[in-house]
Symmetry: D2
Subunit: 141 residues, 4 copies
């Protein structure tokens, strides 16, 4: 397996919350990540759709993988993101695709589209934009 | 118990994802909601802090309670929100306080502050702003 | 000239603030708009870059054209947007390209990339994401 | 006059775009700024309301003053912000009040409320949340 993908999966396995949700890292390269979850019943809200919090988890984590790897990976924090919900997310699986749009010395601005997969068909159900930042090094201040 | 709070707790109990996370609705009145989770190990990321996705879940859900109740409650969707992460969230408990800032005929714009509670002390660890919308009624179009 | 582009330019000419900034509508079709300004001295800040407020004006207006036309155009409001500033905007001209990503019955979610053009070369300097909403009709409530 | 307010006004006078809009800095202290414009005709859109781009300018600049002063002022950039439009902005004057909510070593997260003043009465017409960042020092990387 690609060493970056292996390293990314190792980190995911060390995140208890990602394990609780059953997240899988499908693709991972510098500035790019694809994260997925099976839409099991406990990830839903009262109408049977994926809970918005599951979509925002996917956005948060996929953006962090994309931006963190674009920045080179150590001392990385998710600074902020914004998410628009587009459609109820129904189906077997949710897939979040994130890409770095711009990466500078101290931040990477990334986008993430989240798709619901039902019967092999993907439908865009949310879109996010956010900032991953490199922590200022103590010596630098 | 206040009927609105009781109704809000009933909805929360019908959200499998909120049950999975152990969310509790502490306060609920029109345009106001307080949602909390105990920071159990499975809600954390690899460094022992609350996962960003837990904070974004709290923002999403507390904003929806605040805005949905401000709008009167039926045919409500969470349109979008933005979250800034401020500090690592450590402690025993996370508490999200959301309030409607402005409510019109078709949308409510709300804010949510999320605090980590450690040893009885609250520290602000994230802040969010978002829009809860009333679905357009078919007859209205 | 294309009737939609002509109509869009007529609206722009009726916006005193757009006239003040010297904005031009270069392209306009349902769900798509390209808006530009020449980077004249009075649009700058103290370091000689385009002022952030000029970039946010372009985002606001290009998103509104893209989303408003996607929604069919009457009773449209800009609900919200988010902008990330990526690089100092220097050059002769700023060009904002906006596209509707998703359009439903009551809202259109759009993205906008803003480029600075210097010596014929375009550089992405800001990116935005926002919601254009159709006002609820009185009869619909 | 307070030296910080005087310094802030000097910077504003050096921003050609702020001069074009007629912006005034009414209050300025670490982590706090109040910025205003008279709602002259050239700041409006086609319906006679303040153009959204004027509101977003005020948000951008007021957030930058609040966050920049909270961070101590040198090497500051506006990283991103989000704005929700609440009501049409009509009246004689727009006033933007911004405050730092959290300030760390490398960023300050701020909020800004924008009011339209008509006949002495203030009405909230937009609200924004954003990040002001300290540029990473070259030695720090």
């Amino acid at each position: 397996m690609d060493p970056l993908l292996a390293a990314g999966r190792k980190v995911l396995a060390e995140q208890p919350f990602s394990v609780l949700l059953g997240a899988e890292l499908l693709e991972f390269s510098p500035g790019h990540a694809v994260l997925a979850v099976a839409l099991k019943p406990e990830l839903k809200q009262q109408y049977g759709f994926a809970h918005g919090g599951v979509l925002s988890y996917l956005a948060d984590n996929a953006l962090t993988y994309a931006g963190g790897s674009a920045l080179g990976g150590h001392g990385i924090v998710t600074s902020e993101f914004k998410i628009n919900y587009l459609r109820p997310a129904v189906g077997e699986r949710l897939v979040a695709r994130a890409d770095a749009l711009y990466t500078g010395r101290s931040q990477s601005v990334c986008r993430c589209d989240i798709f619901a997969v039902e019967g092999g068909q993907e439908r865009l159900c949310a879109t996010a934009q956010g900032t991953i930042a490199r922590l200022a090094s103590p010596a630098g201040e």
